[in-house]
Amino acid sequence: MDEPMNDAPGAQVKVTFTTNEADLQLPEEKRQLLVPADIRRYGLSRILNSDLMLDSGSIPFDFLVNGSFLRSSLEDYLNSEGLSLETNLTLQYVRSLIPPVFEASFEHDDWVSSVDALTATSPAGRWSGENFSRGQERILSASYDGLLRIWNTSGEVLVTAPSASHGGHSASIKAAKFISSTQIASTGMDRSVRVWKYTDPGASGQAELKPTLELYGHRASVDSLEVHGPSKRILTASADGSVALWSASKSSSPEADASLLPNAHTSKRRKVASSVTTPQRGPLFLMQIHNAPATAAVFDPRDHTVGYSVSQDHTVKTLDLTTGSVVANLTLSHSLLSLCAIPRSNGAPLLAVGTSARHITLVDPRASAATTSVMTLRGHTNKVVALAANPENEYSLVSGSHDGTCRIWDLRSVRPASGGESEGGVGGNVSEPVYVFERESRQGKKKSVAGEGAKVFGVVWDRELGILSGGEDKKVQVNRGRDVVRE
């Protein structure tokens, strides 16, 4: 008896709206609704935004049905799932992620290893507080040619860091970050961490980038650098397996190990005639904790005395940065190459760990957690070497990989893993990327094997500027969703 009704153009589906967002809760009596079967995301979003429902204006919503985003009409979804139109669908509505659209790319002379943004909402901007003025948004890029560059948002280089002979890095830079609107930390393959003083040109003046401090302690290439502005702490991870905590201020730093200074043993051939003498200091703590190259270390977003580090020896370690000791140790089954902490409102952050096995594992670092591996994000076809959390919420992140793509993931869109699919064995969840965007420079070219010429090395997600990524194509690429950044 239902058949003719189903085929009728006016077929309707009973849906129940739910949400996890506290400010967008519907009253109980409005949650159930009959909607036309051929309605799509846009229509549902319009309904929710209407006066009768949320009266929220125009928030774009996405709808999760059974853990996956609704990408077709309800009717098509039901057909593809083999469900009848009689089914009561539970739609979880979430604020929509707008597809990131390519905006600009900034040319470099060499591979771009790392990018950072300075805006009012970026960590450095927030830490700067009053010192940061609007319109002063800056992009910092670190390149394999050993130079730091600071760009304004229209793609002009404001200042380039001095070369090795003038107090700059003597080898490729692997990571760089704004500590504040006036201070920059960078590190790279010359094993040193450098702190720079950045003078913004302001309205008309000349931008300046001066080395203020050289920090020595690592014995191999330093691959990752994280900063905490208020305490002026720098956390680095090095290929020698050590994680070090540094101070960005000269006064609070101990003396450096003389044997590690570049001119300690240099013969005349290797002496670098540096015209600038910069104070050289050592680390606050140098923790030789990994058996293999440490690839990333981050501060806990809530507490800068807690850090996390990952390494190619498959471990995730929780560090106490006041004593310089390892608190907890977690062993996964692959080499770990990147790390980012996703703050969670309800306690310890979730750690997203990029692995050499081409996936991202989400790890709960708490020792009490029942399952250490919460979720596995699959989709990349090469090493995942860069991760950045969405600054606006706690359930999405962007990853950069050597396969030449950046992928945006929504942790709410999950499904239970079938056997052997998840990182931590049975019981984990897996997810697919919500958006994938490739290097603009590779557009139209054949997809290269192993991401040759398109590898992404660094990615950062800024609330105002969008997603910035740098890679082997010698470009910083800016992608931004149209309405992701809400005023």
Binding site: W111, Y144, A171, S172, G188, M189, D190, R191, R219, A220, S221, A239, D240, S259, L260, L261, P262, N263, A264, H265, T266, R269, R270, A292, P293, Q312, D313, S333, H334, S335, L337, S356, A357, T381, N382, K383, V385, H402, G420, V449, A450, E452, K455, F457, E472
Partner: protein, 780 residues
């Protein structure tokens, strides 16, 4: 035989009739004699021939007799008369025959002995027999006798014309010719014709034959061919007493006699008798005499039965019983159910298809009864084709083992369970011009060194593929091999170009000033040693095994610190695990092809005065002071402390290309140019434990994972790498588990050369390969 006397007889008769008057008697006599003799002759053979007939006559007669009631018992006991009986019967028949006149010759002989006649001359002068008067012994008082009856028999009366008598009565007395009247009397007699006068004379009596009216009428009817009896109607109207018409009042009310419907017992007996006779061969079917004769002739021909004595042979072991056919189904029936009958389309389709392509050879047909089924039209054709099949395609028994081939395969774990192992290419190192000849990952797993045909050595960041350092060692010779010094206390790379081995400290992010200094010290230590004059003195005029020198400022600035020159081009460098010794192989170097260099003393030694075959590669044992040298065919293991040959391993390959030893030291893998990969268990045997052929082209390199993972890999000229899982058990008794897990494809084949070298990451399941296409690839 028979026809001749008959002819003669006839001839005689003819003569007799012709010359009746002249020599009647003589002829008759002669005739009689002839006849007699002829009869005798005739009789004897005819007796044999007629024997059967007479017998059958007699048996018939006896059968007739048997019909009589008295003989019933005898008949029941013995239906067929026995031979004795038959003999008796035939004797009787012979006796009977004797009585026949003119057949038996016996009375003749008696006649001659006591003759009762006398010969007198008759009127014509001829001989005449006058018989004695036979005196009948008895007095005949036959009152009934009506006068004398002539006894001359059936001979013409004219014989007696010349005699006064006309014959003899029963007593042999002459019957005198009745007196004949004269002609007048005769005329008178004719005028006064007595009643019934015919004018004929009764031949028996000689009296005028008078016939009554009835007799005359009878004669007339006979003359006219009518039925003599006047009252007889030869064609009476038939009265159909028994007709198809059912009479209401039948002629006879008697019930139908049993004999009408009961088969006659007697008949059955007779038939049975005949049947038995036929069965026993006493009655033979009739055959025309000619055929019978022919058969007899054939019988006389000797025919041999060739196979008479043949024993039934045991069935041939190659005998193949015909395949069992399925039982006939409904569609084969002459009267199948309707649903089996083809529809019109099916029939058309069947007719359209080629006879060879038809699924069935026939179409089901429906017949009301079996007798309406026609003969099978294609029988002859089918038989012929079947014979042709058997002739042209005889069935042959194939000896085939009925074993599931999969069950013979060893039970190998699935590759998915053996993870991790490298599966895809993740980084491509591009930069070399021409073939990348060698790859090596440094002990810390961060840097990758490659050497290429362009004479350069390059150092790369392993994960990103970033080239961090490059040096050109030679403009002519390719860099055949690059190998890192295996310890972490110094960062030293050895590379060979032509006859030179270069030792260098590449400036790398991992090289701190301290490490750099340490590495330089390690390399420079020997110079002091050399200058101290402790270098063993070489024979004057003889070239030293190796010359250690600084390579020149240009290279020294780049980080290349020591150059060792040996006698011929170095293809292989192998470090000892402690890093103080390294061995080089220059296959063309003849006696000095293998050299062991001591870094701390800048000393080059040639350990072998003589080598069996061209040295291909060498390897140090990871734990013991053993040294493996692979020549083209064998691998020799030497003890370096005792300086003696420990073992000869024979992989069985024709040309060994590469060799590697497991970190446990007991297992060896050997790659060969003849496409084989051989796994040796050194404790077990000198022969390979397992031989693997996975590549269609030569294998150029083999390598164990040295960081504790049970993996090894080979690199082949077909452009692929084959990754194996090779678990060496802790228990000596178990054999190693070797499973091919992945074939890595990606390298292009250039000039028949594919992948040249391979190296494993020191910790991770990652491997790096060097290809002829100018790339090195990282697989993970």
């Amino acid at each position: 035989m028979k026809s001749k006397p008959v002819e003669k007889k006839r001839k005689a008769r003819d003569e007799e009739s012709d010359s009746e008057a002249d020599d009647e008697l003589a002829n008759g006599l002669f005739d009689g004699v002839l006849e007699a003799s002829e009869d005798e002759e005739d009789y004897i053979p005819s007796d044999e021939i007629d024997d059967v007939d007479s017998e059958s006559e007699v048996s018939e007669g006896s059968e007739d007799a048997e019909e009589e009631e008295g003989d019933d018992d005898a008949l029941l006991s013995d239906d067929i008369p026995s031979d004795d009986e038959m003999g008796k019967l035939s004797k009787d028949a012979e006796e009977l025959e004797i009585t026949e006149p003119g057949v038996d010759p016996k009375p003749k002989h008696q006649e001659e002995e006591d003759r009762n006649y006398k010969v007198v001359k008759d009127a014509n002068g001829g001989e005449r027999y006058v018989y004695d008067e036979i005196d009948p012994v008895y007095d005949s008082d036959d009152s009934d006798a009506q006068g004398p009856v002539n006894t001359i028999g059936n001979i013409p009366l004219s014989f007696y014309d010349s005699y006064p008598h006309i014959g003899y009565d029963i007593n042999g007395k002459k019957i005198m010719r009745p007196a004949t009247g004269d002609a007048l009397q005769s005329l008178l007699d004719t005028i006064e014709v007595p009643k019934g006068w015919t004018g004929l004379t009764d031949i028996n009596t000689g009296n005028p034959l008078n016939l009554t009216q009835e007799e005359l009428e009878l004669v007339r009817r006979v003359q006219h061919g009518l039925v003599p009896d006047e009252g007889y109607d030869p064609y009476p109207d038939t009265v159909e007493w028994f007709s198809s018409k059912q009479e209401t009042m039948p002629l006879s009310a008697a019930p139908e006699p049993k004999r009408r419907f009961l088969p006659s017992k007697n008949e059955a007996k007779q038939v049975m008798k005949l049947v038995r006779a036929i069965r026993e061969g006493r009655i033979l079917p009739y055959k025309p005499p000619e055929e019978r004769e022919r058969e007899e002739e054939e019988k006389e021909e000797v025919q041999f039965d060739l196979w008479q004595d043949e024993e039934p042979a045991a069935p041939n072991p190659m005998h193949i019983p015909a395949p069992k056919l399925p039982p006939p189904g409904y569609e084969m029936s002459y009267n199948p159910p309707e649903e089996y009958l083809p529809t019109k389309e099916e029939r058309e389709e069947w007719e359209k298809t080629d006879p060879e392509d038809r699924e069935k050879e026939f179409l089901p047909q429906k017949f009301n009864s079996l007798r309406k089924v026609p003969a099978w039209g294609t029988l002859v054709k089918e038989r012929f084709e079947r014979c042709m099949d058997l002739y042209l395609a005889p069935r042959v028994r194939k000896n085939r083992l009925n074993i599931d081939p999969n069950s013979l395969l060893p039970k190998l774990p699935s590759p998915a369970e053996l993870k991790p192992f490298p599966t895809v290419v993740q980084t491509i190192f591009r930069g070399h011009e021409g073939t990348v000849r060698s790859v090596a990952i440094d002990p810390t797993g961060v840097a990758l060194a490659t050497g290429g045909s362009d004479g350069t050595v390059r150092v790369w960041e392993l994960l990103t593929g970033r080239q961090v350092w490059s040096v050109k060692l030679s403009s002519e010779d390719p860099v055949y091999t690059v190998r890192w010094r295996p310890t972490k206390d110094a960062f030293v790379l050895a590379a060979s170009a032509g006859e030179d081995v270069f030792l260098m400290v590449p400036p790398h992010s991992s090289v701190t000033p301290t490490l750099d200094q340490a590495s330089r010290d390690v390399l420079a230590a020997g110079f002091g040693y050399a200058t101290n004059g402790q270098q063993p003195a070489t024979a004057p005029g003889k070239e030293p095994a190796g010359k250690w020198a600084r390579p020149g400022t240009k290279l020294e600035d780049a980080g290349v610190l020591v150059r060792v020159t040996v006698r011929s081009a170095v293809k292989v460098i192998t470090w000892h695990r402690r890093g103080d010794h390294f061995a080089t192989v220059s296959p063309e170097g003849q006696r000095s092809s293998v050299a062991i260099h001591t870094l701390s003393k800048h000393l080059t030694q040639i350990p072998f005065r003589k080598l069996h075959g061209l040295a291909q590669t060498v390897v140090f044992h990871p734990l013991k002071p053993l040294f493996f040298v692979a020549t083209m065919r064998t691998v020799r293991c030497y003890d370096l402390q005792k300086v003696e040959l420990v073992k000869i391993v024979q992989p069985g390959a024709k040309w060994i290309s590469s060799l590697d030893i497991h970190s446990g030291g007991d297992h060896l893998i050997v790659g060969s140019y003849d496409r084989r990969l051989l796994w040796h268990d050194l404790d077990l045997s000198n022969r390979p434990h397992k031989t693997m052929r996975f590549h269609p082209k030569a294998i150029r390199a083999v390598r164990f994972h040295k960081g504790g993972l049970p993996l090894f890999a080979d690199a082949s000229d077909d452009g692929t790498l084959q990754i194996f899982y090779g678990k060496v058990p802790n228990d000596q008794l178990e054999s190693p588990t070797i499973v091919p897990v992945k074939q890595l494809k990606g390298h292009k084949v250039v000039n028949q050369v594919g992948v040249v070298d391979i190296d494993w990451h020191p910790r991770e399941p990652w491997c790096v390969s060097a290809g002829a296409d100018g790339t090195a690839r990282l697989w993970m």
